[in-house]
Symmetry: C2
């Protein structure tokens, strides 16, 4: 049983241990190695992932062939391509492990059944998505407001836990910067 | 009673007319004039807005004093600063009417009570936010993938209903372009 998921659910809703046993049984544990890909562009995204330990990134490949990260997920974060997952369309995104990662996985049909059996989980996901959506509008604000340099230092100061564990080139990719530019401003700051 | 909200709820969940009467009573109708501001930066965001008719924009003012739009809401769309609304913190955003607009408004306490009385609405909001979040990651993809010119034409081709009703300077603001730049590429395309 996943202590991690149990604790996270109880942060937002109230779930009894006895119900959690059933909830937990809907999920399959999955271990992925650093750099392993769990979703590829062109596929139908059927799964929703909960990160127990480790880190995932969601990225796409630009027309020029560069990887661009739109989202990270560390512990207690959910990840999928929500549009592909909900609308049953092909995804434009890749989901890949940034570190060796321990996931819980559920597919769309099972999640639907889980929500039917435990409607209280609708509330949990509503709150989780409300925060995720609000945060992504806030990220939009930072992208529009800050110079490239400010963006980088704002991110590393406000999310030090990310800055330390995620490779610099992925932070650059997430902020829409080139790795060369990030090296340059870091060198400038040190000097 | 709001036919509009009733229809939109029933797109995602099943609500009887008799229950809807109670649901509807939680909302207050509000009419705002074009350019009227319903939320100002620095305030605690207490309200959630549903657009019955018209259009809202959510924007912030950059350090350089420019307005930047992060989100529009037209008919059947919900708008608030979700982080401020949920975390009871001061907002960085403004919400303003782009046109004369008819809203339904609910405050946080009332929404909470509404969700307690009709837990099925948790499912409705979960789906609405799931789509909103997925769409905002997709927008991130466009922002990172396209040149400024591609971004503008992609947007106007894929969302013609927006492009026609929202002033050009607001579309520019939403895409992170200057109004001058938009005039320039439109003139170039016409010639």
């Amino acid at each position: 049983m996943s202590e991690q998921l149990y604790t996270h659910l109880n942060k937002y809703i109230s779930v009894e241990a006895h119900d959690f046993k059933k909830i937990n049984s809907y999920f399959k544990p999955k271990r992925v190695l650093k750099k392993e890909i769990v979703l590829e562009a062109g596929e139908f995204c059927q799964h929703l992932y909960f990160v127990e330990k480790g880190c995932l990134q969601q990225y796409f490949i630009t027309d020029k062939g560069t990887e661009r990260t739109v989202q990270f997920a560390i512990e207690n974060w959910w990840m999928t391509d929500f549009l592909s997952y909900q609308n049953k369309t092909r995804t434009d995104f890749y989901i890949q492990a940034v570190e060796n990662t321990r996931l819980l996985v559920i597919d769309r049909q099972d999640q639907e059944q889980l929500l039917q059996e435990f409607p209280i989980l609708e509330r949990y996901f509503r709150m989780v998505y409300q925060i995720a959506y609000g945060s992504s509008l806030m990220k939009m604000k930072y992208l529009f407001n800050f110079s490239k340099e400010e963006l980088y230092f704002h991110f590393t100061e406000h999310f030090p836990e990310f800055a330390q564990r995620v490779p610099q080139y992925l932070i650059a990719s997430f902020l829409g910067l080139t790795p060369e530019y990030v090296s340059e401003i870091r060198a400038k700051k040190r000097s």
